[in-house]
Symmetry: C2
Subunit: 195 residues, 2 copies
């Protein structure tokens, strides 16, 4: 029924993303449905496709939000003034993932079709998160070029990711009473010492 000035374009986008985020958090990636999001905001499925183009891009837009929320979460933790900033980051990493299970999982559940380039806001959100982490890694090791620090950051994030994933998907049960979170911190400390 034509342009509804109930909401501006930007407001409508925000509305859809907020509803989509809630739906994703409740249902998980596999059960996420664009039609359900449309139902929640009271617009038709067509409108969602006009604004976001595809299921994929809607998920990516929500994922970009998740990345921004994650970065904000970590910054808040860092701001709380604990002096062991690496431990603060690792616990923040795991806590965010655990408290936002489905949203965090969706970050990795979603595979982009072939080599379609990622939307800019997604890449930007990821870049901001990486920059935040890199800064702390740089401070923790003191020495080394930016390129080396960036590469080391990649490795430390990969460590955290692997351990966090195993904690959330139950794989950890295969390894006795192994505690992924503590192990991640230990491995990252070892890597920083060796660097």
């Amino acid at each position: 029924m034509g342009r509804r000035s109930d909401h501006s374009r930007a407001e409508l986008e925000e509305l859809i993303l907020a509803a989509g985020e809630a739906h994703l958090a409740e249902a998980g990636f596999a059960a996420f449905s664009a039609r359900e999001v449309a139902k929640r905001v009271g617009y038709s499925i067509g409108t969602i496709y006009n604004l976001f183009g595809s299921h994929d891009r809607l998920v990516l837009a929500i994922n970009a939000r998740t990345l921004r929320a994650w970065a904000a979460f970590l910054e808040a933790r860092l701001g709380s003034g604990h002096e062991d900033r690496i431990a603060t980051l690792i616990h923040g990493y795991f806590d965010f993932a655990a408290e936002n299970r489905n949203r965090w999982m969706a970050l990795y559940d979603h595979r982009m079709a072939d080599k379609m380039p990622l939307p800019d806001d997604f890449t930007a959100a990821f870049g901001a998160l990486v920059a935040l982490l890199q800064e702390q890694v740089a401070a923790a090791r003191g020495k080394g070029s930016d390129a080396e620090t960036l590469a080391l950051t990649g490795s430390l994030v990969a460590i955290a990711h692997g351990h966090c994933m195993f904690e959330l998907n139950g794989t950890y049960e295969m390894f006795g009473d192994w505690r992924p979170r503590d192990a991640a911190l230990a491995r990252i400390r070892e890597a920083l010492v060796s660097a």
Copy 2:
């Protein structure tokens, strides 16, 4: 229709799993379809449901095969006689994942509904893979209880997993010219030294 003695129950299962594996390898987890598997083996969709019960359990059965293939792949590499067995394992880990992208990804794409226990053959296949790895970790460190070795194995696998995932899903591009495979090996060496 009716019972076709063309294939015994076991033969039919094998037929379906082989076709399903091929389809999964070609299409990837997101596009995997039980109907397509039925089409490939020339049976109806109902037959697949009679044998496997659900889409989920069909995927799990294929995933169990992938785990067994992965373990066999690693054993073959270890048998080739290179003396640096840790490096052999890491390269085997990454090579298998790269050569069987979609099948390897499906291992992690698939999330079981809630706390439904995994089928026995899946758990067994996973256990065998872990045992294989644990044996090499035990040899590499020489000392320590079985429980400690198992926990360390979990941590090393998590490191490999995180790095391998970042290599396959393109995340590595965010970290300059970082090479996940080499980094994984370096981190694992550090962890073994520190252990």
